[in-house]
């Protein structure tokens, strides 16, 4: 082990330890602390100046009270369940919207594909906040969607869409659809077109060939896309806060309000720890899918 290598490894390592792992341990610790009217607003705080006694007292004062509080208060259960539901429904909707686009791209002529690809990626580079904001003007009561529907005579009274869960679904589908399109496109593009021809020669209808050949062959892309949408949607804050209503419950929003409005840091930390535990399962499943795909390619 020479000095240079040690230096190269230790700089990013220490940075991540100090700014990723340690902060997370602090969250864990505060989630076990009690709320206090002080600065910072929790107790106990660790002071090493008291020596061993101080550390012992510090450990003794930690308890799982906040977690018990979370299970007792209906709000948190509902928020977890409803985030889960919203993330699940919008992932399914994103798949329905994204799959045909990916399919169309994969079947477009090769000279068009790079342009189509850039058109999918371009919105991803533009500000997330602006893309969510764009829908506020469309979905509001006097918005463009209502103007259009009233003008075309489809409805007589303006629809209330902004500040409902529907608006949240639309927002999530709109902002995350590139994450769905790209992995599905990647699997569809590699697919051998003669397989479909073979299925049709063997008597399949086009639809049946699609269902029996194309869908199973693009399964790994579908799974990857679903996780790439589901995981960030579960902890989403901006979309429910701008497009959702006061009754839209999502855990990211609850955490934000618990921290900034109620200033209850210990409870906000406990909410964060549980959100992360919920995410561990889909993340592990996602990585397993990726690994399986890598092995299949080799």
């Amino acid at each position: 082990m020479n000095i240079r290598r040690l230096f190269l490894i230790s700089i990013p390592y220490l940075w991540l330890l100090a700014l990723f792992l340690v902060p997370f341990l602090i969250v864990m610790k505060i989630s076990l602390s009690d709320l206090a009217i002080a600065i910072p607003p929790y107790t106990p705080t660790l002071s090493l100046s008291d020596g061993w006694q101080g550390i012992k007292g510090f450990w003794a004062a930690l308890d799982i009270e906040n977690y018990i509080f979370l299970t007792e208060d209906n709000l948190y259960w509902k928020a977890y369940l409803s985030s889960f539901k919203i993330a699940l429904v919008s992932t399914a909707l994103t798949l329905l919207v994204g799959y045909p686009i990916a399919y169309g791209m994969a079947n477009a002529s090769p000279e068009w594909r790079p342009t189509l690809m850039m058109l999918v990626i371009l919105p991803f580079w533009t500000s997330f906040l602006i893309r969510v904001y764009a829908w506020m003007g469309i979905l509001s009561k006097q918005g463009f969607l209502n103007q259009f529907l009233l003008w075309s005579g489809i409805i007589d009274d303006p629809l209330v869409i902004l500040n409902t869960n529907t608006a949240v679904y639309i927002g999530i589908v709109y902002t995350y659809v590139p994450f769905m399109i790209l992995p599905i496109y990647a699997t569809l593009e590699k697919m051998d077109a003669s397989l479909i021809e073979a299925a049709i020669d063997l008597g399949c209808s086009r639809l049946k060939a699609f269902w029996l050949v194309t869908i199973p062959l693009s399964k790994s892309g579908i799974i990857a896309g679903c996780f790439l949408v589901f995981i960030p949607a579960l902890g989403e804050f901006v979309i429910p806060s701008l497009l959702g209503g006061s009754r839209t419950l999502m855990i990211g929003k609850v955490l934000w309000e618990e921290f900034f409005s109620n200033r209850d840091w210990p409870v906000a930390s406990a909410v964060a720890v549980i959100l992360l535990l919920l995410l561990v399962i889909p993340i592990i499943l996602f990585q397993r899918n990726e690994q399986k795909q890598r092995e299949a390619e080799q």
Partner: protein, 270 residues
């Protein structure tokens, strides 16, 4: 077989209409005379004029730019180092933990990253301001940089580095004159990615920012919560324009480079 059926054409048309119409409406109505965003009252650029008089927005834009440049540069250096360690570092103590810490921030909800960093800054008694936002942005975007750079490092031939070492280069010289030029495109796109992530970030910046240091997304968010406004449309149009210009230029340049490489390869074969 690969012909465009009516289904493909419809899917692509509807799909791209869905992706682009909201942005187009936003841009068109930034040139609207009326204060009401959803009623067209004639062409005007007055909201752009008002935007440039709004000192609060200009200050926020300056802070955002400063944070973006500082954090993406730091993230590029740290992320490239991390990628190098991951791909070429061999075995070392705590390697699993290290790769875990590289990948975890990519899937961590922003609210949690923001909350944990804020609690750290308070625990160590750091005043919140530009510096804390830079630290926060560097931390999460270095992970993106290292993913981008390591995918390039994996795919290139290690024997080139070894050859340079055999010919008497010091490891640093070999890195500087062999490895770096080859991974440069990935390093540059890593920097761009880190920069856009930083410009875009609302949640983490909200936790890490102090009262005196507001970034543009924070400013936009607090304005937008009160409803749509033509000024925000104008600001959004400018931001979209800059990004579109950057992305399109970058892709044209890389297309030309690829074409040039192909030409040179052809010449080399002849």
């Amino acid at each position: 077989m690969r012909r465009m059926s009516w289904f493909n054409v419809t899917a692509l048309t509807l799909g791209f209409a869905f992706l682009y119409i909201p942005i187009l409406i936003l841009i068109i109505y930034s040139f609207n005379e009326s204060k009401l965003v959803t009623v067209w009252a004639g062409f005007s650029v007055k909201w752009y004029g008002e935007l440039f008089q709004n000192q609060a927005f200009l200050n926020a834009a300056w802070v955002t730019l400063k944070v973006g440049v500082l954090s993406s540069t730091a993230a590029t250096v740290l992320g490239t180092m991390a990628a190098y360690v991951m791909v070429r570092g061999g075995r070392f103590f705590g390697r699993t933990l290290f790769s875990g810490m590289i990948y975890a921030p990519l899937v961590m909800p922003e609210v949690i990253t923001g909350l944990s960093l804020l609690l750290l800054f308070i625990a160590v008694g750091m005043d919140r301001g530009v510096m804390t936002i830079v630290l926060a942005h560097t931390t999460f975007s270095m992970c993106y940089v290292s993913v981008v750079v390591s995918s390039r490092l994996v795919s290139f031939d290690q024997s080139l580095e070894e050859a340079a070492l055999d010919l008497g280069c010091t490891p640093f010289d070999a890195f500087k004159s062999v490895t770096l030029p080859i991974i440069a495109p990935a390093v540059i796109s890593g920097w761009l990615l880190a920069f856009t992530l930083s410009l875009d970030d609302l949640v983490i910046a909200s936790f890490a920012a102090g009262p005196s240091s507001t970034t543009l997304p924070i400013k936009i968010y607090s304005a937008v919560r009160l409803g749509v406004s033509p000024e925000i449309n104008a600001l959004s149009t400018i931001m979209i324009g800059i990004v579109a210009f950057g992305v399109i230029t970058a892709s044209l340049v890389s297309k030309r480079n690829i074409a040039r490489l192909k030409r040179e390869e052809k010449l080399a074969v002849q």
